[in-house]
């Protein structure tokens, strides 16, 4: 089984695409082997199949020299995107009278952010765009550290 076909079947198994979409993608693969099937999207006869990432992953690997702790340190976190969305909605419950104090405290700590300017719809948009985010940090200065942030 080739890689693209396996990827489509995995997307189908994960519920990212429907059986019909999987069928169209496989048919497109057979007719045009060069069709690009991305991690979260595919294109068949002009129909773009955009699937949503379900989880935000944060992977950190650091050795002793970097952390000062004995032995390697690893962090492996998987957070559902839905939880991020719900958390963002929770922020909308902050009373307006608390905004000023929060803004003041944030700017005192070097974060010049005005909370009242952040609207729930903007945050939703931000979460949606997180799906395209990938951060890879690899340092070898003093100790070896790897940080990966991505959506899957």
């Amino acid at each position: 089984m080739n890689e693209d076909r396996r990827q489509i079947l995995e997307m189908l198994a994960a519920g990212k695409i429907t059986a019909g979409e999987a069928e169209r993608l496989i048919a497109a693969l057979e007719s045009a082997p060069a069709t690009n099937v991305g991690e979260h999207s595919g294109s068949v006869a002009g129909i773009t199949v955009k699937t949503r990432a379900k989880y935000l992953r944060v992977l950190v690997e650091a050795d002793e020299a970097m952390t000062g702790m004995k032995g390697p340190t690893t962090v492996n976190v998987r957070v559902p995107m839905q939880l991020l969305r719900a958390g963002v909605r929770l922020a909308s419950l902050i009373p307006s009278q608390a905004h000023e104090k929060l803004d003041e405290a944030l700017s005192r700590h070097g974060v010049p952010l005005t909370l009242s300017q952040i609207k729930p719809e903007n945050l939703e948009e931000l979460i949606d765009h997180l799906e395209d985010l990938t951060v890879d940090v690899d340092t070898n200065d003093e100790g070896k550290t790897k940080v990966r942030v991505f959506c899957e």
Binding site: V75, R78, P80
Partner: protein, 86 residues
């Protein structure tokens, strides 16, 4: 869908705890029994925060329902911690 199980595992170089499976669905029993009290607490929070009670309930329910799939594994100094919500 709300989570049904939480798995918690802690391992240290000297001590190894088998993974603890916590049946979260059993928590529904005390939650239902305490629901009038929980509702009153939520009403008090809603009044204090000057927000809509139903919006507050919806947000908390959303958070609860989206917890499923959360997985945190940390290893440091030979200690391992696992928290997984299923």
């Amino acid at each position: 869908m709300i989570p049904s199980f939480a798995v918690i595992g802690i391992q240290t170089p000297e001590w190894h705890m088998p993974n603890l499976w916590i049946p979260l669905f059993l928590l529904w029993i005390p939650v239902i029994l305490l629901s009038p009290l929980i509702f009153l607490v939520l009403v008090a929070i809603a009044i204090a925060g000057r927000t809509n009670i139903w919006r507050l309930i919806a947000i908390f329910w959303n958070i609860l329902a989206s917890l499923r799939g959360t997985d945190v594994r940390v290893t440091a100094e030979g200690n391992h911690v696992l928290v997984c919500i299923l």
